[in-house]
């Protein structure tokens, strides 16, 4: 116990300030003001792997490490789509996951947001479209924000999530989106 406390005390707080939202990642034109009014900055995310190679999952998990202090921003991952405001979807959508993705989307209460993650989620990536892959996430469910990268860094993921929830006015003021 003493060692545990000593370790906590000696490491201190490593959390970093969050990056600004990157509204250039938005692909859905209609801003859902309603969501922002309702949610403020408390956001529940349900992650769905719809066919990913698991690279994106590693970076989503990295978001939960102390450097990014996700919960400090009011964002947390939840276990059920019924508790979620936002779906974070990875992978090209495999045909074997199509029904599960549609059902998970349907189970998420309105109003809801969808962020597609990674090159595969944005375009189908290297897997493309085939007998087994349906390609990009927006081929199957509506997508608000798409974050490219293979895999995108935690900072980019966070920028995409924030772009989905922060006000459009923010983008007009932030002329220099940081690189991630």
């Amino acid at each position: 116990m003493l060692k545990t406390l000593r370790q906590i005390a000696s490491i201190g707080i490593v959390s970093e300030p969050p990056p600004p939202a990157d509204d250039s990642l938005r692909i859905q034109a209609g801003l859902q003001d309603e969501i922002r009014t309702v949610l403020g900055r408390a956001l529940c995310i349900r992650h769905i792997d719809a066919g990913s190679c698991n690279g994106c999952e590693l970076e989503i998990q990295a978001l939960n490490c102390p450097h990014y202090n996700l919960e400090g921003l009011g964002i947390r991952f939840v276990a059920s789509p019924r508790h979620a405001d936002l779906l974070l979807v990875t992978g090209p959508v495999s045909r074997n996951m199509e029904a599960a993705l549609r059902r998970t989307y349907a189970a998420t209460p309105d109003p809801k947001l969808v962020v597609a993650l990674g090159d595969c989620g944005c375009t189908g990536g290297i897997f493309g479209e085939s007998y087994a892959s349906l390609g990009r996430v927006s081929n199957v469910i509506p997508v608000d924000v798409a974050v490219p990268g293979c895999p995108p860094s935690p900072t980019r993921i966070l920028q995409g999530i924030l772009a989905a929830i922060t006000h459009g006015a923010h983008a007009q003021h932030s002329t220099n989106p940081p690189s991630g």
Partner: protein, 511 residues
């Protein structure tokens, strides 16, 4: 015959060192598998090259510090090929996958589809018929014939494919009495993306990028195994510096995954402190990797003929410092895990796979070494540069979650040692050389000990720089069936912990 007689009959196979290739008849196919199984051999991979006129089935087997790829040329494609699931239980699902992808049947008793759910019709053979793209549509509901457990008080818990955490999709069907698990049956294949068909559409000199994405957490292992096979059939000798850099990448990948798992395992045992501390160390390592090599995860690092990135002297020194720091901190955290009564209680005796069961079922890689299976390609069948390192093989015998944690701690330390060894004596010279397009019909295999276990890539060249057939095999194929045994008699709430202690790849398996 003894395994060495089978090896003697074969020819050298290009790619990984110590591999032989042998074309066998149907009788010899079973006989060779029987002899190798009797000598304690292991099945690495089983796949088919289902060309219409002359379909072939291949088995990669290891025994006595050598490997052999058996090729069975099927005389009659309509007749089933002899299954080897009685000798190597892990073969059962591989044979079902062969049927799904190529239409070839085995004599194995389980004829349920495995990778094919409702995504493509039974008559379509992805590896034989022309590629097709079906339009998105509401897929039919998948019905799978799970084995039912009957009796008073038995009920089923169905979990997945979408799970509660940030993990990959798969379905688990538990049959339980109260909290106790009587039986677990897995249903996988949800993230099947058609990778093996996709390989045949890519140029052979570029498909290492697809190999890296078979299982993202093992990108280095897969891309190295692919390049090893390609360089073998192209008669390309990579520069020494390239081989050493690849080993550096592979050990960095091992460290990152072990750090992540050690944190997640603490968390699953109710010790969130572990997740935060190891999450911090992993993030430090990823950032140091990014600073030194330009990527957090080394998805693009290995290319045919060598490596994409070189390592400058200042980057070499800073990477070395970061690894030394992590090694020191991980040692402190290990004593905290070891002395924490709650963590010990959850780890010890959970999800036990005895050494005897592990040997019978062919448990491999990290999980195998936690159940007394003393096998590690880095010391048993080493390629350059591991042949010069005398890698310490980490083996524990208890076979429980605690043992799988201990293997990770020990391997983390060994990886730190190997990295310092590499950084201290990195050969000078180029880190990349030219690779020529291999001749049509040449066949080779790569074999690399990834962090999870042996990764195998078999590659057959087509005409003018195309791929005729590429099979990328993840060790999760061997270990998923064993997880079904590990959970028997444990309680349902311990499943996430036990599952995490194996941390198997869905994507690598489903591919």
């Amino acid at each position: 015959m003894a395994p060495r007689d089978w090896f003697a009959r074969g020819n050298d196979l290009p790619g990984a060192p110590g591999l032989r290739a042998l074309v066998v008849s149907e009788d010899e196919w079973r006989e060779a598998a029987l002899d190798l199984a009797a000598a304690g051999g292991r099945l690495v991979a089983l796949w088919a090259s289902p060309e219409n006129d002359a379909p072939r089935v291949h088995a990669a087997l290891l025994a006595e510090h050598k490997g052999i790829v058996l090729t069975l040329s099927m005389a009659d494609p309509a007749a089933p090929f002899p299954g080897i699931e009685d000798l190597f239980p892990a073969a059962a699902r591989m044979q079902r996958a062969i049927t799904d992808l190529s239409g070839l049947r085995s004599t194995g008793p389980d004829t349920r589809p495995w990778l094919r759910h409702t995504a493509w019709p039974q008559g379509y053979r992805p590896l034989v018929d022309p590629p097709r793209v079906a339009a998105p549509a509401e897929a039919a509901i998948d019905v799978y014939d799970f084995v039912r457990v009957e009796g008073e008080g038995v009920h089923e818990i169905a979990v997945g494919p979408v799970h509660a955490g940030t993990i990959e999709p798969g379905h688990f069907r538990f049959s339980v009495v109260g909290e106790k698990v009587l039986r677990l049956e897995e249903r996988l294949g949800y993230v099947h993306k058609g990778i093996e068909q996709r390989f045949t559409q890519l140029p052979i000199l570029e498909a290492h990028r697809l190999a890296a994405r078979v299982s993202g957490d093992s990108a280095v292992a897969f891309s190295w195994a692919y390049c090893q096979a390609l360089e073998g059939i192209s008669s390309c000798e990579i520069p020494r510096r390239a081989a050493w850099l690849r080993a550096l990448y592979l050990e960095l990948e091992r460290m990152a995954n072990h750090l992540g798992d050690l944190g997640a395992l603490g968390n699953d045992a109710g010790f969130a402190f572990g997740l935060m501390q190891f999450g911090r160390l992993k993030e430090q390592l990823l950032r140091a990797t990014q600073d030194a090599l330009g990527e957090r995860y080394l998805m693009e690092a290995i290319v045919p003929g060598g490596t994409r990135y070189d390592l400058t002297r200042p980057n070499l020194l800073s990477l070395g410092r970061c690894v030394r720091e992590i090694e020191h901190e991980a040692r402190t955290l290990r004593t905290i895990y070891d002395e924490h009564a709650g963590v010990r209680d959850r780890f010890t005796g959970a999800g036990t796979v005895t050494a005897e069961l592990a040997a019978r079922l062919g448990l491999t890689g990290l999980a195998g070494r936690a159940s007394g299976q003393a096998f590690d390609l880095r010391s048993d069948l080493p390629c350059e540069p591991y042949s010069q390192f005398s890698v310490k093989k980490i083996v524990h015998n208890e076979g429980d979650v605690a043992a799988r944690v201990a293997v990770r701690f020990d391997e983390l330390e060994e990886s730190c040692r190997l990295i310092q060894r590499i950084l201290g004596a990195l050969p000078e010279g180029p880190h990349r050389t030219q690779v020529r397009v291999p001749a049509d019909g040449t066949f080779g295999a790569g074999l690399i000990e990834g962090w999870r276990g042996p990764v195998c890539v078999a590659l057959e060249a087509g005409p003018s720089g195309t791929i005729r057939r590429c099979h990328a095999h993840d060790p999760s194929w061997q270990n998923w069936p064993v997880l079904e045994h590990a959970i028997i008699g444990n309680i349902v709430p311990d499943f996430p912990l036990i599952n995490k202690s194996f941390n198997l790849s869905y994507s690598g398996h489903d591919s």
